[in-house]
Amino acid sequence: MKHFKFDDENIPFHDGESVAAALLRAGKWRFRETRKTKEDRSLFCGIGHCFDCIVVVNGEINQRACLLEADEKLSIRKQLGVN
């Protein structure tokens, strides 16, 4: 099975699957920490409206995990505030 990186772990994914779905399948529910209260957030609306599932993708912040198709070239980090 193909994998992408989430922090230091390899997350397996099916072809065509979203990054969010692959993370949840792997039991990874904490996608990011909020700016003010450092609360954990995850997938919420699932269709790109709410921006709650944002992660850092290959160094680029604010990428919506629910819209992004999983790919071996992705190195993803939990987003902490705006970093």
Partner: protein
């Protein structure tokens, strides 16, 4: 704009005539939310398959419209696709951008595992994933039915392919009592097929030994120490208020799907400053019988002209397309208008049956985050009205930042609007000069 049911229905008619048509959509495939499907799946609606391959239609997918300028020469759309700005001018625009799901803020609703019913639906249907083992579906309105149906179906599939899997729906809570359906008696008489739909659903539930507990709302969600398990409180709703009689219940689960219906996505109509009207507390785009908006050369169809579901959206898209072609007075159009009228009566009745209480923010005395992006709470928003002098959604936003985050108020606007209707005085209408994320570089060009 929008390749959901309304947009596709219009495109189907336009593609049969010699006009040149561009179809914009922000997603990679046609279908909108209603016909959402996975990449390798066939298109869910058979009757639109030929439309999707029509050579007369030019599809602009993954395209985000951020500005529209109207001049005598036409309407110019500015959109971003693959990081590049597209600029094109049109004689006629049809806005069919649909609706946004509406969850209500509940203390604990920001915990991972709490999601909109639409999110659960998209994981099941679009990704083939049931994200938990003990699932609760709660909220209000007819959208809960198809979500529960697809959840049931995929649970059955998963237990037949893997006998050791133990995924269960542990609770279904609908805020409104079944007796409120009396408010839609005329709608039911005019749309008897809907009664059959509802019966079929209830029989299905019974077969699975599931039941919908009506007149109940979740009032809090608390994290337990156990991994991803949450404890919810469910209380009776009497009229607009949470009551303690009969006493509430507590329940453990890992996934909670919430939906209180939909609210029109007025992002693009607000760029064009289209006139809106209030329908059952929702702000909708004002249109005439041919789906013409208040602006010359701009039509609107589907959920932005009133929440009603895909069947009305299809009719409205067709009526708009016929009028764009100069056939607004034709018999084909008239037949569709009668059908639209019949369905609209049902939809309006439905909106009354499942009307969301304006006083939802009083269901729990504990404070709750309303704007998830900027982490602004109910009490901060109320305080902006009571103490700081805010009088509208807009001025409250300036004090609190509610609606200023990444989602640009898409999720909280409707809920802040309810608070503003109680504590404010000014217009609560939405106004947004730019429709989507755009870089400073693109703006300066």
């Amino acid at each position: 704009m929008g390749a959901g049911p309304a947009g596709l229905a219009a495109a189907r008619i336009l593609s049969e005539h010699s006009v040149s048509v561009d179809v914009f959509d922000q997603y990679p495939r046609a279908g909108g939310q209603y016909w959402r499907h996975a990449k390798n799946e066939p298109f869910p609606a058979e009757s639109f398959k030929t439309t999707l391959t029509s050579s007369r239609l030019n599809w602009l997918f993954e395209c985000s419209i951020w500005q529209i300028e109207s001049e005598k020469s036409g309407h110019t759309i500015y959109a971003i696709q693959n990081g590049r700005t597209i600029e094109r001018t049109y004689d006629a625009l049809l806005i069919a951008t649909g609706a946004i799901e509406r969850p209500l803020p509940i203390p604990g609703w920001t915990l991972p595992g709490v999601m909109t019913a639409g999110a659960l639906q998209s994981l099941i249907k679009g990704q083939g994933l049931i994200p938990g083992e003990r699932i609760v579906v709660a909220g209000s309105g007819p959208f809960l039915f198809p979500v529960i149906e697809s959840l049931q179906k995929s649970i059955q599939q998963s237990s037949s392919s893997n006998p050791s899997s133990d995924i269960r729906i542990v609770g279904i809570f609908e805020a409104r009592k079944l007796s409120r359906w009396l408010l839609n008696s005329v709608g039911l008489l005019l749309n008897p097929e809907k009664v059959i739909d509802a019966m079929r659903f209830l029989i299905n539930l019974k077969r699975e030994k599931l039941r919908v507990t009506t007149g109940r709302v979740i009032t809090s969600i608390k994290d337990t120490n156990s991994k991803n398990v949450k404890r919810i409180s469910v209380m009776p709703l009497k009229g607009e208020k949470v009551s303690n009689n009969p006493t509430g219940q507590e329940l453990d689960c890992d996934v909670i799907a919430i939906s209180y219906g939909f609210t029109p996505d007025l992002t693009i109509p607000s760029i064009l400053k289209l006139k809106t009207v209030n329908k059952e507390d929702d702000e909708i785009v004002m249109v005439d019988s041919n789906q013409r908006s208040s602006k010359l050369g701009v039509w609107a169809a589907g959920e932005i002209t009133g929440i009603g579901g895909h069947e009305i959206a299809i009719r409205e898209g067709e009526i708009a397309a016929l009028d764009i072609l100069g056939k607004g007075g034709s018999l084909t159009s008239a037949i569709r208008k009668i059908d639209r009228w019949r369905k609209q009566i049902f939809a309006t009745g439905l909106a009354r049956v499942y009307k969301v209480s304006k006083r939802w923010f009083e269901w729990n005395a504990d404070d709750v985050v309303v704007c998830r992006c900027e982490e602004v709470s109910r009490d901060e928003i109320i305080n902006s009205f009571r103490e700081l002098g805010a009088d509208s959604v807009r001025t409250s936003k300036l004090f609190t930042r509610a609606g200023m985050g990444m989602c640009q108020g898409r999720l909280c606007h409707r809920n802040v609007q309810d608070i503003a209707r109680v504590f404010g005085s000014e217009s609560t209408k939405i106004s947004r000069p730019i429709g989507g994320a755009v870089t400073l570089g693109e703006l300066s060009d």
